[in-house]
Symmetry: C2
Subunit: 331 residues, 2 copies
């Protein structure tokens, strides 16, 4: 049996296309001392991946042409030469878009699939959930009675942000694309309101949904949505800049016109990456697990089948066609 | 003798014009119980005034058409019916653009002109100096070894920001318009470098002046200068949004393109108004007075003569033609 992987074939300009990627087959790798061979079960698809295949300055150098696409997986150890790990163990890895891979034992994290599905460690109990948890509490500083707005509200990060804010006593308003997502956010997740940005009257709908203005804005999207929310921000409000997905596929970034609101309303705006709190992940996972068990956080996944469909899965995600945390099921 | 005042004649669109204002003459007002009649000696002209004559949402309602223009003055009490104030006292007032005026005794602040010129209470020891002091220390959080950039570097706020940062161990880079202002900032005020934004190669010059990037950016200007500095910001850097003077005279605000830098570099950006620290003014004045006495802060004024020239003084200020703190000498 060979290892199947998706490599970057070309560096996309603007929207990502399927042929920016290529499926490759290679010999099954063998673990050396200190390493494990992992069969990947789930691959996570995330908006940050668009940045990793672009040449713009970012956190880390971009994925090289011809290299395996980066990404987190949950997999099963099938051969171990690493202390503390044995065949059958489930692990969180950074092996990327491939069916199998070899990692140092110290580079993977054991996860326990007995209480929650293994895929949750790529979502609500993984990077997206922790992004929501630390971004909201460390930068957003929500207070009971505050109005919080979150964009990409039905997504992996946004859905957790809104539910955490709700649990913290906020009035929570989501922004999402289309009636189905908005209905889900209000009826299933318990948000107070949701604005459908595709309905064509964003400013009016946002004004109706935030009669007392906005105290915390958790930004995943950027662009015109950001400007529209900025115009509703209250005195001493906070804006968490977590993602700007609307800019990721454009060749010219959006020009934010509402800087005046930052000045006049003394808004505190701050960028974030979940890695900034890497030493506190256990705290976040514990808190999110408890809220999940008690039913205060609900969670939804959007699954594509097979490694060969990962590129289309990412493209759909970047266009907002996913509904919930986007995953690739590899087995 | 009559009172001479400047009233708002029309609400400017875009650049302010002289005939947006009108000189009026009226009977000398008389103080009632609890009030003082003040002869204004100095009128302060400040960028915020552009906002006060526009209809855009701001801190407070705009100046009405036909009303006396708002502004701070330093004057001399010529008749007092207020306890604790007597003829001859010098006071800081909000009487606006007029030669005389009546104020409640509780609305003016006594100032002591025996150690520093009275005009300093409108500049380095007044709102501009306090803006620099609280904005820099409370939001900018400068550390020894940091690189700080300040726009409008030769102005009333920028010159104090840079000198305070220098005294706090920072490498200080100013941005100003023209060689004369840049020379002043470096040679007289002791900044490490100054970028002349009128020289036509802002990005290159800024890169040369900030080889280690930018840790604190104190923004007075906005627009393209802001985007250029944003592109140089370091990880976990801070941006104090104090003013956006380049936007004040445009009908369409500038679109900031570097939001991505906020995200990638985890920049913390925060708007400010000096009023936010009104309870701490005495602390700021004490600190600034000490630095002024010891020669660590130098200060320059730009003076126009006569109330009738106040409109042109404001227009020059908004176009960057002033050089130092802009004042109108009324006597």
């Amino acid at each position: 049996m060979n290892n199947q992987s998706i490599v970057l074939a070309s560096r996309p300009q603007g929207w990502v296309k399927p042929d920016d990627f290529r499926l490759e087959s290679s010999a099954m790798p063998a673990p050396r001392d200190g390493e494990v061979l992992v069969k990947n079960l789930w691959l996570s698809l995330d908006p940050y991946m668009r940045g990793r295949i672009s040449e713009a300055k970012s956190y880390v150098p971009p994925v090289a042409i011809g290299a395996v696409m980066v990404g987190q997986t949950v997999g099963e150890v099938i051969e171990s030469k690493a202390p503390g790990l044995k065949a059958g163990d489930h692990v969180l890895t950074s092996l990327g878009w491939q069916t199998h891979g070899v990692a140092r034992g110290t580079e993977v994290t054991k996860v326990d699939g007995s209480k929650v599905p293994l895929s949750y460690f790529l979502g609500v109990l993984g990077m997206p959930g922790l992004t929501a948890y630390f971004g909201l509490y460390e930068i957003g500083h929500p207070r009971a009675g505050n109005t919080l707005v979150v964009s990409a509200a039905s997504g992996a990060v946004g859905s957790v942000v809104g539910q955490l804010a709700k649990a913290s006593g906020c009035r929570v308003v989501g922004i999402a694309g289309g009636k189905a997502k908005c209905d889900y956010v209000v009826k299933d997740l318990g948000f107070d309101a949701c604005v459908d940005y595709k309905a064509g009257k964003l400013k009016e709908d946002l004004a109706k949904a935030t009669p007392d203005g906005v105290d915390v804005y958790f930004e995943n999207v950027g662009g015109e949505i950001m400007d529209a929310v900025m115009a509703r921000m209250n005195f001493a409000s906070r804006m968490v800049v977590c993602g700007l997905i609307s800019d990721y596929n454009t060749t010219e970034p959006y020009g934010m016109k509402m800087m005046r609101s930052v000045l006049v309303n003394r808004i505190r705006m701050q960028g974030m990456i979940v890695f900034d709190w890497v030493n506190r992940y256990p705290e976040g996972i514990k808190a999110l697990s408890a809220l999940l068990s008690s039913g205060k956080i609900k969670y939804r996944e959007s699954v594509v089948q097979g490694i060969e469909n990962a590129p289309q899965g990412l493209i759909d995600l970047l266009q907002g066609k996913n509904f919930g945390k986007q995953l690739v099921k590899l087995t």
